[in-house]
Symmetry: C2
Subunit: 158 residues, 2 copies
Amino acid sequence: MEWLDYDGDACSAARALQVLGDRWTMLVLREVFNGVRRFDDISGHIGVARDVLTRRLNALVDEGVLVRVPYQAPGSRTRYEYRLTPAGKDLRPVLLALMAWGDRHRADPAGVPVSVVHADCGEPVHLALDCEAGHHLPIDAGLRMVAGPGARRLAATQ
Amino acid sequence: MEWLDYDGDACSAARALQVLGDRWTMLVLREVFNGVRRFDDISGHIGVARDVLTRRLNALVDEGVLVRVPYQAPGSRTRYEYRLTPAGKDLRPVLLALMAWGDRHRADPAGVPVSVVHADCGEPVHLALDCEAGHHLPIDAGLRMVAGPGARRLAATQ
């Protein structure tokens, strides 16, 4: 496909970025993936202003990525914690890809801060690719873009 | 590891987001990955204000993700186009992960706008995981986080 002939707004990456397109949003999701689900814990750990965090959490709930679940500590009023919906869980590869890039290009001289390991065997994991013909490919394999049924061709501009 | 005991700023995803943490930056990279390298082409296709695009391109050059390459159309002054550095090319999995999520959760009723296919065989590709023990895993395999040498434990707070 000739990329400029198509409407980039129809692109799935663009649509995903409507949900995810800022740094705080991804860091909030990182916390929830790591089991940090309560407002004060998230706010303290990532150092985000409370009003910004409120807006980001509300947006993620509105987008169906997080869900609010009530909890009540003894003697306190009911509060809410945030959990990933199935759509939220499906964002894990985005975080894994960001981490892999940071590990490779921005790690401390001391080494990587966190290793992501296979739960069963404890060995580090790396992103790879599978193709529907059954080829198992390295993450940097040669790829092409092909227009799909949802592509929107732009009117020729002159 | 107990996530809240560690400094989240040392996390590689956080460091990657220092470079990538906004929507326009990722869309600019999407254009360059798709061979759209010139200012006017990028600006027109993603519909970003020129001053915003200038800032994003400069930041990506400063971060070593893009490089400026001069070109000259006949009868015109020298201009610059933007190409991915090796570090820039390593961001492809982030875009692939964003696209996969958008395909699954935000696609048109008509279907996906773009398929990413294996260059050799033309079949669609999907993200997967490999572990260093040689296990080939689906992208939603069970994973754990383990503190690495660059982790920074936070002082106990009261």
